[in-house]
């Protein structure tokens, strides 16, 4: 059993929901990334999504695009990202790391080399944003052969047939994009999320994480009541962006702790619509 499955099994046994933060590798600079990863774990994160910077992050909003640009200014490459993960692994053997990025850097390296190097570094799952299931069966096999999970996105507009297709290919967890639009957008409709998760669960047997648009503890808590995992991205990146470098670790830790506390609270009534 790989680290992602182990993590969800342990969480279920403790009746807890997973907190999955997203940061971009190399943002604000490559030297801080590994420390940030440890800091996320200390603050109560269960899985880390590590963004691989790309020059044209079409599915992301301006916040994550800017983080990608900051990382690319430091010439962060996939090899650099693997090094960061390996460094993190040397002190942390249990927290799953999922790489999230776009197809082109992966293709430039080559699927097989990527899978081999990622596995060696200690990567547990890969989400390639612009590889929909139709275009990547070979890629999913390649990841599987190297004991890594292919993580897929599902959206409010995904039709049943595709949900079933993704359910066949996806491993680890699926990532439900909780609103139409790009990362970092503003409004969430919890009733819709609830209805959609019920629909997804009829086909998807692995855990479902929800992300896009979760910006505060109350929303995180409300989403945690419905989903198996809560993904926080843009809000953390904003904290990194707006904080002087020497205080980034503290501020991110405090922020992520607040999400952890909120998710753990048992609050069936939410004032969100």
């Amino acid at each position: 059993m790989n680290r992602i499955n182990q993590t969800f099994t342990a969480l279920r046994a403790n009746h807890r929901k997973a907190l999955i933060p997203f940061i971009t590798a190399g943002d604000p600079d490559p030297e801080l990334t590994v420390d940030l990863m440890h800091c996320l774990v200390e603050a109560g994160s269960d899985i880390i999504e590590l963004g691989v910077p790309f020059s044209d992050p079409m599915a992301d909003g301006p916040t994550i695009q800017r983080s990608s640009e900051r990382a690319l200014k430091h010439h962060v490459t996939l090899y650099g990202v693997f090094e960061m993960v390996a460094q993190f692994r040397s002190k942390n053997a249990h927290t799953p790391v999922v790489l999230m990025g776009y197809a082109n850097p992966v293709e430039a390296m080559g699927h097989t080399i990527f899978a081999k190097k990622a596995q060696e570094a200690g990567v547990d799952g890969v989400l390639t944003v612009d590889y929909p299931p139709e275009e990547c069966e070979q890629w999913v096999d390649c990841l599987g052969q190297h004991n890594m999970d292919a993580i897929f996105l599902l959206s409010p507009t995904t039709k049943l047939e595709r949900i079933q297709q993704v359910a066949r290919l996806a491993k680890g967890y699926v990532y439900y994009v909780s609103l139409k639009g790009v990362t970092g957008a503003l409004h969430l409709d919890l009733q819709n999320i609830k209805a959609m998760l019920e629909k997804l669960r009829q086909s998807v047997s692995i855990p479902i994480g929800v992300g896009f648009g979760i910006r505060d503890g109350a929303t995180a808590r409300a989403v945690a009541e419905l989903a198996d995992a809560v993904v926080i991205g843009s809000r953390i990146i904003e904290e990194i962006e707006s904080t002087p470098r020497n205080n980034v670790l503290n501020k991110v830790k405090t922020l992520v702790q607040s999400f952890r506390t909120a998710i753990n609270e048992n609050a069936p009534h939410s004032n969100l619509k």
Partner: protein, 399 residues
């Protein structure tokens, strides 16, 4: 004889094309594909499209024999397909009319577009005004600065122009931003892509709307010259004017097809946009195609004197035509294009767009190597009025 019938059902031209987008866009693309597949074969839709092209755009565009220039060059005869005579001054309008008609039938009230130099933005703003739709054009902040006249033109036509500050602040970033707008406002919004790139069905749909160029040419050539040309020459940025001319000729093996890319300051520099000549296959903007990228798969900023060719990708169908050796792709530098620009002004009294000047420059190199009875059909994809400031600047002239 083989009949060319690509793309396949899933939008692939060999290994190229496809649908490489995040899940959030899939359903919008599915709907678009279904709707287009329906209207593609709908007689009423095709009739309205043809009628708009005739009465609003002014088609068919003539084929003009550049006799004096051909004589000066001393080889093959150069014929020009006059897309520069279209309403708004370029081939772009063929496609924006097609997509706007589709948008109307799909009940969309708002259209968005990306633009580099502003030509596709102007063509989109034009049809939005024509059909009473709201129009938002995304344009790199750098391009907004460089193309102030076109920005004003779009505003006069009632469009909102949004400067894009992210990335390299050029066309590719405008495309990213337009995609983001679309995924957020998909209920009421239609995204008019300006070239034969992007996720399926765009490369096929834009091609289909542009094939009017080649279809007309086939008829006109027979009528006026009694035969088809020996070669077709067209500039390639994303490649919509080129594929529009090439496509009806793909099965005619005797007609050579030559795509001309922007070699900028030279193919041995990093300042060019010659994607097919120097790039490698990869995935960008929803399709697999040749890309100008670094060793790590990051997209590199391109350069061309002509903003319309300044793009790090290329339509997937061109990638396929290159690989199967059906079309040949060559590079023309800024200086060579500029020389052809001046030549056409002086010999024929026609001011070509700098994009089209690349195709003309290659024709000027190629024609003298051929006998005088050979016919080269060059797609004069746009007129050069928009480029006067650039040309003046290159010549050291200020107004």
């Amino acid at each position: 004889m083989n009949v060319y019938d690509l793309p396949d059902k899933t939008g692939h031209f060999g290994p190229y094309g496809g649908v490489f987008v995040a899940e959030t866009l899939i359903s919008a693309l599915d709907v678009l594909r279904e709707q287009y597949e329906y209207y593609q074969n709908d007689a009423a839709f095709q009739k309205e499209f043809a009628c708009e092209l005739k009465h609003y755009v002014g088609r068919p565009s003539p084929i003009y024999h550049a006799k004096r220039w051909s004589e000066h060059l001393g080889g093959a005869q150069i014929l020009l397909k006059r897309e520069d005579l279209n309403h708004t001054g370029a081939h772009k309008i063929n496609n924006t009319i097609g997509q706007a008609l589709l948008a109307r039938r799909m009940g969309k009230t708002r259209v968005i577009a990306e633009t580099g130099a502003g030509q596709h933005g102007v063509a989109s703003a034009t049809v939005a005004a024509r059909y009473g739709m709201q129009c938002v054009v995304y344009m790199g902040a750098e391009d907004v600065r460089r193309q102030a006249t076109n920005v004003y033109r779009m505003k006069l036509l009632g469009a909102e122009v949004v400067p894009v500050e992210s990335g390299s602040r050029t066309l590719k970033d405008a495309l990213n931003e337009a995609m983001r707008d679309w995924v957020t406002h998909v209920e009421d919004t239609f995204y008019i892509i300006g070239t034969v790139a992007g996720p399926h069905p765009y490369p096929m749909m834009v091609r289909d709307f542009q094939t009017i160029i080649g279809k007309e040419a086939k008829i006109q050539m027979l009528e006026e010259y009694g035969r088809q040309p020996d070669a077709l020459i067209a500039c390639v940025g994303g490649g919509s004017n080129a594929i529009g001319l090439f496509y009806p000729y793909i099965d005619d093996d005797n007609v050579k097809m030559i795509g001309v890319e922007a070699a900028g300051k030279g193919l041995d520099t990093h300042q060019h946009a010659a994607t097919l000549t120097t790039g490698r296959p990869g995935v960008l903007h929803g399709n697999r195609t040749y890309l100008i990228q670094d060793d790590n798969g990051q997209i590199i900023e391109t350069h061309s004197i002509s903003a319309g060719l300044d793009y790090p990708g290329v339509g997937p169908e061109h990638a396929w035509l290159k690989d199967i050796h059906r079309a040949e792709y060559v590079g023309i530098t800024d200086d060579e294009a500029l020389e052809a620009f001046h030549a056409l002004c002086r010999f024929e009294g026609i001011m070509p767009a700098l994009e089209s000047s690349h195709a003309l420059a290659y024709a000027a190199k190629y024609a003298p190597t051929l006998a005088k009875d050979k016919l080269l059909l060059v797609n004069l994809s746009g007129r050069g009025d928009k480029d006067m400031a650039t040309v003046a600047q290159m010549s050291g002239i200020t107004f």
